[in-house]
Symmetry: C2
Subunit: 281 residues, 2 copies
Amino acid sequence: VTDREVAVIGLGLIGGSLAGALRRAGAHVLGYDLSCERAQTAFALGLVDGVSDHPADAVRAADMVLLAVPVRSIVELLPEIDAVTPPGSVILDTGSVKGPVVDAMGRLPGAARAVGGHPLAGDQRSGPEVADPDLFEGRPFVLCASSETSDEAMSVAENLVREVRGIPLRTTANEHDRVLARTSHLPQFLSTALALCVRPDDGKLSGPALRDMTRLAESDSTMWRDIAGANRDALVESMREFERQFGALVTAVETSDLTALVEAMESGSARAQSLAAGTDT
Amino acid sequence: VTDREVAVIGLGLIGGSLAGALRRAGAHVLGYDLSCERAQTAFALGLVDGVSDHPADAVRAADMVLLAVPVRSIVELLPEIDAVTPPGSVILDTGSVKGPVVDAMGRLPGAARAVGGHPLAGDQRSGPEVADPDLFEGRPFVLCASSETSDEAMSVAENLVREVRGIPLRTTANEHDRVLARTSHLPQFLSTALALCVRPDDGKLSGPALRDMTRLAESDSTMWRDIAGANRDALVESMREFERQFGALVTAVETSDLTALVEAMESGSARAQSLAAGTDT
């Protein structure tokens, strides 16, 4: 593990946490962030061994490059990163949508060494200040191959996931994006819409549930703009499905069809419980 | 405080927690629950000093009666409880909707000693097994007078709230119900609808956010059936407002109007942050 050089492009919550976890595991980590202030914070917090002023400088001697920037930036950066990363090194991203990223990876000259990734961890906060080397502990870390990804590159990516104590989970980009539309992207926009319904003075008459349900609304809007753009069709489909399910509840309440309401609640409860059982493992 | 007799009708999460907190504060607490098993559990857990087979037996010698059953049962029980509770004692409920309860209180022969209450605490779990005498610590506990409630009764209720370490918060039933429709009842049904959108196998591809957003869906359906019935108009209004806000986000995603999406997210984030600041105090 020692003597290995890792470059982390983007030192927010995910990039900073990966950097910290890999440094703890013995890697030498060079970081880059568009924001000089964030890069300096990551350095000051000991998440990276050093920072570069340009992505190309960070990756030039890297055995492994991690791209932890918003999805649109990943797609834009890939050709440049691929061009300056040494042969034999592996490129892994952490974007929340995998289709456009894996497509772009498949078109690179160095397509064989590029792997799509997405750690299912994090929260509404962002920035290196909240980075945590334990963030990935026991959490699934999705890995998606493009049609060109080599088995060797995938194997290196899986080892990296285990080094940061995550659980490698291989799936296709398409499957990832359709499921995440329901399990991650839909909840994000529900939280935003709920926050928009609440009046400024309502806080004093609210319990812990409202906070739980509006926490996601504080998430970084640039990151989510990119996710919505990159996973539009699957996201719209899941939003429409939600509108149907919620609309049926509105009708049940409005017509005082309390039997239908109880049935829906019992089904929802069973679904939530099985989700909890599945994700608490 | 000692030698005081409190009757708690309904020994679920809220009733059990109140019983435990008052017993800790030195009161002698008699409990009743429709379910003999729950009553026995509450007794076995030390939440009550004893249990009765009938509500009338529990309240006969009480200085204070707490009604911690679903809203419809509160309204149904009030006349019977009022008839057998000794003069000079105070009746306080904990229902999540206050309009119908406070109306029913105002029509009692003993209207002067009846106070509407709602502790803004609890979670999706129910039953005495999860009761916690610290549940109300630092949380608002809403108190609503009917047109007939005496200042003395309100004062006794406020002292009880302080004894269980809650923060008494006086408001009108109407104001309570309109605000709680947005801050509590709406989030409940959003959580149910979201749980219904998720497929059984989705759990393995989900992060902590989905769990946060579907936790409420596990709440007791009988309690929520009553809430939806008792606060129908305000709830439907808040659900319609949500449909408008969410619909605007769906349109923004579908038309790739990412500027509008970012604006909505920024507004939602500011709202969520001010809520968090207000409720974290």
